[in-house]
């Protein structure tokens, strides 16, 4: 509960224009991209710098008011939904690229910078920031760091975590700390940088980050391979890796996904194929040439019915863009879209795809599957309707089975979206009671009043709930 006195103190710090507790303002920040999950915050604040964040956090800590840090709300696990009320922190004023350091190949950014702007700024200087989550056009770097976002290039280049060298963090008690730095190597004490990446805003607020950049690959090429058989596509994935080739991108799309995408983008995708692999390799021209020839051979030897190499940069771009629209395309089918990101070891992809299809049949659901097959990170997606309670129950049961299967195959319940609210009940499946206790001990140590994004990561109770909210 925010008293008049607390409100006054906050306004004194950030000015009245940056404090919003109007009904409309609160409603705008009551949900994120997670379906069927909504809760009103008590107020929304937009601090202008780290000191203001720190001052606001101190007040919240004093009065045990929940804090929900939020970028642009593209979160898919309910991580930015203020389920316990409190104050939403926005970073619209802290959205600057502070420095591009060409000697150390780093970029220093504020949390509100849009991911794509980081990528573009790097590219304009002949450099490369590889993490490319599907939402990169609208997501912020602060959100990416908090969720440890992945993307299409994860197999070869890793995920957000691999590109964060240092952070400035406001702790739960308002203290400001700096971790890491422009250092390729740093073993002075515990790796707080990596602990905060992917902590989903539950340990503190990231107010600045030093990102690592790498030289931009000289060239890239794209192949589209079509299959009549899902398993043949999965076998191709394994075989490419077994041949010691690590492509920049190795994406898998099943028939329902391709149909949805084609209906949306209309670029002549082969809607009759049972599965499609979109493969991209980058690097020196010699290496790319050699790898692509080998990849094409492998696709053919695994009964691909067609293997086409994009002839121009534009054509290649159109293909990857089409893949990036998959979620939006599927979302057009029905009002509610449930998307998961269960991840398995690469060698288990074929088995996982098969299991998802069996589960879809068992619960009579149209599951579209696409995703990053190279790193085992699949996105089984169900277009449904939140108002149809009976169908939503089936969706929930189906996803629970998918999670269990992923763990059985040595995988995990989330590869890149985070635990948030929706997967918290399943955390114990993967981590066991002792594993959760170890994480909770850290949470309690760094945020004893439990004000930092409470209700996320750790489930309050064991009630299973994937989608049926409220």
């Amino acid at each position: 509960m925010i008293t008049e006195e607390i409100k006054k103190r906050m306004i004194a710090i950030i000015g009245p224009e940056n404090y919003d507790d109007s009904k409309v303002g609160r409603l705008c920040y009551s949900y994120d991209a997670t379906p069927d999950l909504q809760a009103l915050p008590d107020a929304v604040v937009s601090p202008r710098n780290t000191e203001e964040v720190s001052e606001l956090v101190k007040i919240c800590n004093e009065h045990k008011i929940p804090i929900v840090p939020r970028g642009t709300g593209t979160n898919l696990c309910g991580g930015t939904c203020p389920t316990e009320g409190g104050i939403v922190f926005l970073f619209k004023h802290m959205n600057q690229i502070l420095e591009l350091d060409l000697d150390n190949l780093t970029m220093t950014v504020q949390p509100g910078v849009i991911t794509l702007d980081v990528i573009k700024k790097a590219e304009a200087n002949g450099l490369f920031y590889p993490p490319d989550p599907g939402s990169m056009k609208s997501s912020t770097i602060g959100g990416n760091i908090s969720e440890n976002s992945g993307g299409l290039r994860g197999l070869k280049y890793g995920v957000t975590r691999d590109y964060v060298m240092g952070l400035e963090i406001v702790m739960a008690n308002g203290d400001i700390i700096r971790t890491g730095g422009k250092l390729a190597k740093d073993v002075a004490g515990y790796d707080l940088t990596r602990l905060y990446v992917g902590a989903e805003g539950t340990l503190g607020i990231i107010t600045e980050a030093i990102l690592k950049l790498v030289p931009i690959p000289e060239t890239k090429k794209t192949i589209l391979a079509l299959y009549e058989d899902l398993e043949a596509a999965a076998r191709t994935v394994s075989k490419i890796i077994a041949n010691k080739i690590i492509p920049a991108t190795l994406e898998f799309l099943d028939q329902p996904t391709i149909a949805a995408v084609e209906d949306y983008v209309k670029i002549g995708l082969p809607t009759e194929a049972k599965a499609v692999l979109l493969i991209e390799q980058d690097g020196s021209p010699e290496q790319v040439e050699k790898d692509m020839a080998k990849i094409a051979d492998i696709c053919k030897s695994e009964q691909a019915v067609s293997v086409q190499m994009a002839k121009t940069v534009e054509e290649a771009e159109a293909l990857t863009t089409a893949r990036r629209t998959a979620l939006s395309a599927i979302a057009r089918i029905k009002p509610t879209t449930i998307l998961e990101d269960a991840t398995v070891p690469r060698s288990e992809i074929a088995r996982m795809v098969k299991a998802i299809n069996e589960i879809a049949e068992k619960y009579n659901l149209p599951i579209c599957t696409f995703g990053h097959s190279g790193d085992g990170n699949l996105h089984p997606t169900v277009p449904t309707d939140a108002r149809n309670k009976e169908e939503m129950e089936r969706v929930e049961q189906a996803f629970e089975e998918i999670f269990i299967k992923a763990i059985e195959l040595g995988g995990t319940i989330t590869g890149e979206h985070g635990v948030g609210v929706v997967k918290a009940p399943y955390l114990e499946l993967k981590l066991g009671a002792a594993g959760i206790e170890a994480m909770k001990a850290i949470k309690n140590g760094l945020d004893p009043n439990n004000i930092m994004n409470p209700g996320k990561v750790f489930a309050k109770d064991s009630r299973k709930r994937v989608v049926v909210g409220q």
Binding site: A188, G189, L195, A438
Partner: protein
């Protein structure tokens, strides 16, 4: 607790009495490592199963006895020293499991496996395990994980941490947890894997690790560049890296190191140059041939005296011999070597060299500098004689100034050796009171009785660096 009772209780946990060491001679063998200091433990046990470790930790907790995990004792920061007496857990005998899974491109290893053996076994399947600390032929992977060991290949391939995707860990309270897994992407809860790697055995005992492997590069090429001026070599380093080339290794030696090598085993290196840089490129043969030309051009632009390109792998080996001989060469001058690894942002390398030169002159010490230039991880080594107390006093002061210089230049106390006992007094200088407090809170939340590797990382009140026997 009296020692006899401890030995009895240990006998109930470890079934094989040969794996419980209590003789004075044995205990003395575990009283030191490759750094400074001498501390005799009460008992040494050699566990070979996770359950055994868990039971030892539970016993230690019950009776509040300190426990020190240890590999082969190659630590340069005092990591495994039993500074408060108690139990040394010698994990070096637990080397039975070394499995390479080429489909998932991972290795699964028990903690006592020698690091070099992992790479050797991976190479049989056309893969590599990139981290290559200089001690890789004797050090255990468990020690490498605890210290987050680096190595020359760190520039392109990163350090140990970048290759660990899953761990089995026994917590200080004796719980067994599994972190991460076999998947490249995993955001299920906090990243405990990266927190434990580099925590110097203070947060848990690593009993198994899942390591990422990488395809073996098609070919490598080596180049040596000699510079009349140290500052020019710094410019060459920056310029090469800014030209879009990422060498596998980029090592530097200063004049004192070159002279020491020439005095030890003459290789025909000119002793009047101020710096020597060794560069190894790897990748597709045609691509690296192009890059080699570019590197030579850059060196010429900044005014190199001479560039030597190895035509054959034998020639490359010969060039690298200079770098490999540095350590043995310098200890011939005097018996005691104080090896530091203060690390600075790459752009600050010339400034760091300047500061080191000033420190050398000020304290009139034998200071040589070599190291991993590409990632800013230099190894200033002071050669002294432990028996000369007056000289050792000067060494203490010089070391302190080296740390101050590194931190003032935006660097860190340690790039790859760890904090341990020697650098603990300087932690607050780097992290500040608040930063250090955050780390302490994590330690306390997992190890409330402070029994796992006490006396490391965190300074005791009033602790100073002492190299003399006062």
């Amino acid at each position: 607790m009296d020692r006899e009772r401890l030995i009895d209780l240990m006998g109930e946990i470890i079934p094989d009495e040969k794996r419980i060491l209590t003789d004075q001679a044995d205990l003395y063998s575990y009283s030191y490592d490759a750094s400074f200091g001498f501390f005799v433990p009460d008992i040494v046990v050699q566990p070979k199963a996770t359950e055994e470790v868990a039971k030892v930790m539970k016993l230690a907790n019950q009776f509040e006895i300190p426990v020190y995990p240890r590999g082969q004792g190659t630590s340069l920061s005092g990591g495994p020293l039993p500074v408060k007496g108690g139990i040394v857990l010698d994990l070096s005998r637990w080397d039975q499991n070394l499995e390479i899974d080429s489909e998932d491109m991972v290795a699964i290893v028990s903690p006592g496996v020698i690091t070099g053996n992992i790479n050797a076994k991976a190479m049989e399947k056309g893969l590599i395990y990139p981290p290559d600390p200089s001690s890789s032929n004797i050090a255990t992977i468990g020690g490498n994980l605890a210290e987050n060991a680096g190595g020359p290949r760190g520039l392109k391939y990163g350090v140990t941490k970048d290759y660990v995707i899953g761990l089995e860990v026994v917590t200080p309270e004796g719980e067994i947890i599994r972190t991460g897994g076999r998947t490249v992407k995993n955001v299920t809860g906090y990243d405990l894997t990266k927190l434990i790697v580099g925590s110097e055995g203070t947060l848990g005992v690593i009993t198994e690790a899942i390591l990422r492997l990488y395809p073996k590069p098609a070919s490598t090429q080596t180049l040596m560049a000699l510079f009349d001026d140290l500052v020019d070599s710094g410019r060459a380093i920056s310029k090469v890296l800014n030209s879009g080339i990422l060498p596998a290794k980029m090592e530097i030696m200063d004049q004192a190191s070159i002279q020491a090598v020439e005095a030890y085993r003459p290789l025909g290196l000119p002793t009047d140059v101020e710096a020597l840089i060794l560069i190894e490129l790897d990748g597709h043969p045609m691509a690296i041939a192009d890059e080699m030309l570019k590197v030579q051009e850059v060196c010429k632009e900044v005014g190199v005296r001479e560039v030597k390109v190895a035509a054959t792998s034998e020639e490359a080996e010969k060039l690298w011999r200079a770098r490999k001989l540095v350590s043995p060469a310098i200890v011939r001058v005097k018996p005691t070597k104080i090896s530091e690894d203060a690390t600075v942002p790459r752009s600050k390398i010339p400034a760091m060299f300047q500061r080191l030169k000033e420190i050398k002159d000020k304290y009139n010490l034998d200071l040589v500098v070599f190291g991993h230039a590409g990632d800013g991880n230099l190894h200033p080594n002071i050669i002294a004689d432990k028996r000369n107390q007056e000289e050792m006093k000067r060494v203490e002061m010089a070391v302190e100034e080296i740390f101050t210089a590194a931190i003032e230049l935006g660097g860190t106390l340690s790039g790859e050796h760890g904090i341990g006992t020697m650098k603990a007094p300087f932690m607050e200088m780097e992290l500040g009171e608040v930063g250090l407090d955050m780390m302490k809170r994590i330690k306390q939340s997992w190890d409330p009785k402070n029994i796992l590797n006490p006396g490391k990382i965190f300074p005791e009140i009033g602790q100073r660096l002492v190299l003399t026997d006062e």
